[in-house]
Symmetry: C2
């Protein structure tokens, strides 16, 4: 992977915010730490492990999940390239979530001290991390609403639309058919269902000509029908970011980057 590609991946999440001062993404690249790899099924960081770090995902998909007594697993986030991983555990002494590879994976570890440096020296980058975290929180709220208040077919439809939207943000050339390397068991753990019932639900979507999802490959056949089934209110796109580099203050990044 070329250095250019690597940088593109690293900052995908920031680019999504639109007109970002380039010095912000530059600042973030300087903080990237050592690279790590994992094979499918490998655990990058287990729930309960001490001194949790933060990761940036470069290649592959990763699930973030918590385990309840009895051994059941709930996946709380599907990470795709460009995502930051493990942040919810940052406040604690031990990790509250397990990061597990869905595919072969490449990521880098953000050194623990780097976060302190960001808040001291890169206020604009800190503000972006704050906004990204709020966005993650809103996504989690939507998932909770989906699991708590809608049926199986609605949950699957919502997930398909979410995955497609996120892939599209990352790679604008994503079409209606794309790789979505999750097993039905993993989908079930995301949606609060069982693997068997996910299978039946996917069969129903296939029979109705709405979507096909087999062997890690997802094809959207009828987007309007999917949207009709997905029950979560659409958000206004766009964000308040002006305040980060806004008027009334010296450019926040420039002062410290000098």
């Amino acid at each position: 992977m070329s250095l250019l590609e690597q940088q593109e991946v690293d900052t995908a999440r920031f680019r999504a915010y639109g007109q970002v001062d380039p010095s912000i993404t530059d600042a973030f690249r300087r903080l990237a730490g050592p690279r790590i790899q994992a094979a499918r099924g490998g655990v990058l960081r287990a729930q309960g492990s001490a001194n949790p770090a933060i990761y940036v995902l470069h290649e592959g998909w990763v699930t973030s999940g918590v385990v309840v007594a009895g051994g059941a697993r709930q996946i709380v986030k599907i990470h795709m390239p460009g995502d930051m991983m493990g942040m919810p555990s940052f406040a604690g002494l031990t990790a509250c979530e397990t990061l597990q590879a869905c595919t072969a994976v490449e990521a880098s570890v953000v050194p623990f001290d780097a976060m302190a440096r960001i808040f001291r020296e890169e206020p604009a980058l800190a503000a972006f991390l704050f906004l990204i975290t709020q966005e993650e929180r809103a996504a989690l709220m939507d998932r909770l609403a989906s699991v708590g208040r809608t049926g199986a077919i609605n949950r699957v439809a919502t997930l398909i639309l979410e995955l497609h939207k996120r892939l599209l943000a990352h790679r604008p050339d994503t079409g209606d058919e794309f790789e979505a390397p999750l097993t039905q068991e993993e989908i079930a753990d995301v949606l609060g269902l069982t693997g068997v019932h996910v299978n039946r639900t996917l069969r129903a979507l296939r029979a109705r000509g709405i979507a096909e999802w087999r062997h890690g490959r997802l094809r959207i056949l009828d987007r309007d029908a999917l949207r009709g089934l997905g029950r979560i209110a659409c958000r206004e796109r766009g964000r308040h970011v002006d305040w980060i580099n806004g008027p009334g203050s010296a450019p926040a990044v420039a002062t410290s980057a000098a």
Copy 2:
């Protein structure tokens, strides 16, 4: 309410982090904006409204909820005095959550510009807001696991334990019987159940001598049994906060507060 009390409430969330530099909480007090009130059932801020602000809750309980197509509601957070409210909507152009009063409520609005000022001028406070948000995210992950992967009685037990723990952090003199002013319908919307089934579940807890929750008053009778039913893994208490005011840098707050 005296000024002293008000300050105590404002900073309860920060005190929970332990040894916090007093200048941090001082800095936060200076940002408090105009006060607002609401009666039970009143909406402080509706989902979809433009230019969402952030609130600090002083008195009473508030639910934060999202609505799915069909009219069903999922409550994603129960706010108690000292909490910051509305932060997930900060990144968006419109609010993604409705803030509704469970009781008579008093709160203050944090001016929009105040957040920008925090990140520019109060890096230690910004870091605390970041940590608090990560903690909220972890709480949401636990709720999702509870709703997605456990039965009704487990969800209710988990909720009771969570409420008790949070009240205890805020008021150490909270006993095993305390005010928990939620209707069964509201509890249902938190846990992804129906009001009818919450009623039956509470009856079961009562019949087994584990807990009583009637008319907004909650009594814990058998904490061990509750813990046995609550299926979410306990977290290590304590947090990494040293890095905020840690060595190797000038005190982050002092430089800008001068």
